[in-house]
């Protein structure tokens, strides 16, 4: 006899249903019936922000006109990063994550609990670090350019907050996965168990954010967008 829980899962996966095509219209019509409490509209609007974030994280493209999007989206979450609109905290003089220390490429995967990836386009990093929260960072010094790639697991709780002008967020793909390119300068801050860690506040200038296999990746320091995506595509 095969395992019962496996069979139940299979039964569920094969359980297909038909949903009426006009369901959304019927729901909307019912909602449109007079509602005395107009305050709800505001709550609805605020709440949509969260939903849009969830949809974005699921890779569902919201086909909404630009002005509507601009009005509604104040914050959205992608992978382990929560993006906020507006000015963030001032960057720290030498930003670092709690417990961040140098490690080797060989040791990093075991310390982080996932397979650390390296961009073939850049080769082995000049330096690699791992933090208490298992954020792995690869560093490259290319003449005056400083390139950093952060990799971390989990996306149930945001691990970083990022402040930027949301208008600059652009949907792109990395190896077929949803990604966002932030063209404008942004500030990134680590969110630990005790909240935002000010010592971690770091200025980003042109950054690419993507999720692959449950790992959130962030690349910054490479412009233009096409070059950044090429590097991201070469992650092995």
């Amino acid at each position: 006899m095969s395992d019962i829980t496996e069979d139940l899962l299979t039964l569920g996966r094969e359980f297909a249903v038909q949903v009426p095509d006009d369901l959304a219209e019927r729901v909307l019509a019912e909602i449109a019936a007079p509602d005395p409490r107009t305050a709800r509209r505001l709550r609805w609007r605020r709440w949509l922000v969260g939903i849009l974030a969830a949809l974005a994280a699921l890779g569902i493209s919201a086909a909404v006109s630009a002005p509507v999007r601009a009005a509604i989206v104040h914050v959205f979450r992608f992978g382990g990063v929560e993006v906020h609109q507006g000015a963030g905290p001032s960057p720290a003089a030498s930003p670092s994550l709690p417990g961040q220390h140098p490690t080797s490429l060989q040791a990093a995967s075991a310390q982080a609990g996932f397979t650390v990836r390296v961009p073939a386009a850049l080769g082995p990093p000049d330096q690699i670090t791992v933090s208490d929260a298992k954020v792995v960072s690869l560093f490259y010094q290319r003449s005056s350019e400083r390139v950093q790639i952060d990799e971390f697991a989990g996306n149930s709780e945001p691990m970083f907050e990022k402040y930027t002008a949301m208008g600059s967020a652009q949907r792109v793909t990395v190896n077929g996965h949803d990604a966002y390119w932030f063209d404008d300068p942004a500030t990134s801050i680590f969110i630990g168990p005790e909240g935002a860690d000010e010592g971690s506040a770091r200025a980003l200038d042109g950054s690419l954010l993507w999720i692959d296999g449950g790992i959130t990746f962030r690349l910054d320091g490479i412009r233009p967008q096409t070059a950044a995506i090429a590097v991201a595509n070469s992650m092995r």
């Binding site: 019962i4 039964l11 959304a24 509209r41 699921l58 909404v64 002005p67």
Partner: protein, 178 residues
């Protein structure tokens, strides 16, 4: 609701309507499943002030769907005879619509669906949420309005009951074959 919000709401409905309907059927909505799903989305809209953005949306919505499905069952119970009540578990309808290619044998599918149909609704629903809908313990806890610990212990008990029931059936089949 302005146009943009309507657009967003359409996306929401498109994203969650199938999961809502499957839940409605598994929780006894029967022929009323489409109405239950529609009412659930309307009720979700009206309950938005109680939804916190930081929470997961899916289990929150499913809890509303399940409540609506239970209401539909109660309404039917008042209106119909005892015999009709069994129809709420979709044994002969949806779960028996075997896909063209199934990982389960027809016999195994039938045995499972029938055994689930004979369970107490509380046991059946917890197995439906945890396995058929593949929700986590935390999501199941929200969807069914139970404490995490209760979900854990009740899932284990329900699984054990289902295992015993299936073992009994295997035995019957064995005897019948002789």
């Amino acid at each position: 609701m302005n146009r943009g919000e309507r657009d967003l709401f359409r996306i929401l409905v498109a994203r969650y309507s199938a999961v809502a309907k499957r839940t409605a059927l598994l929780c006894g909505a029967g022929d009323d499943a489409d109405d239950v799903v529609q009412e659930a989305f309307v009720a979700a809209y009206r309950a938005l002030e109680r939804f916190r953005v930081a929470d997961a949306f899916r289990p929150w919505l499913l809890r509303i769907v399940i409540n609506q499905a239970h209401n539909a069952t109660r309404r039917r119970r008042r209106a119909q005879s005892l015999v009709d009540r069994a129809a709420a578990w979709p044994v002969d309808t949806v779960l028996h619509d075997t896909p063209a290619v199934s990982a389960l044998t027809t016999e195994r599918r039938k045995v499972l669906v029938t055994a689930l149909g004979e369970m107490r609704p509380a046991d059946r629903e917890i197995l439906a949420m945890r396995f058929l809908m593949d929700l986590s313990e935390a999501e199941t806890s929200t969807a069914l309005g139970l404490a995490r610990g209760t979900v854990k212990s009740r899932t284990a008990r329900a699984l054990e009951r289902l295992r015993r029931e299936l073992a009994g059936r295997d035995l019957e089949v064995g005897i019948g074959d002789e």
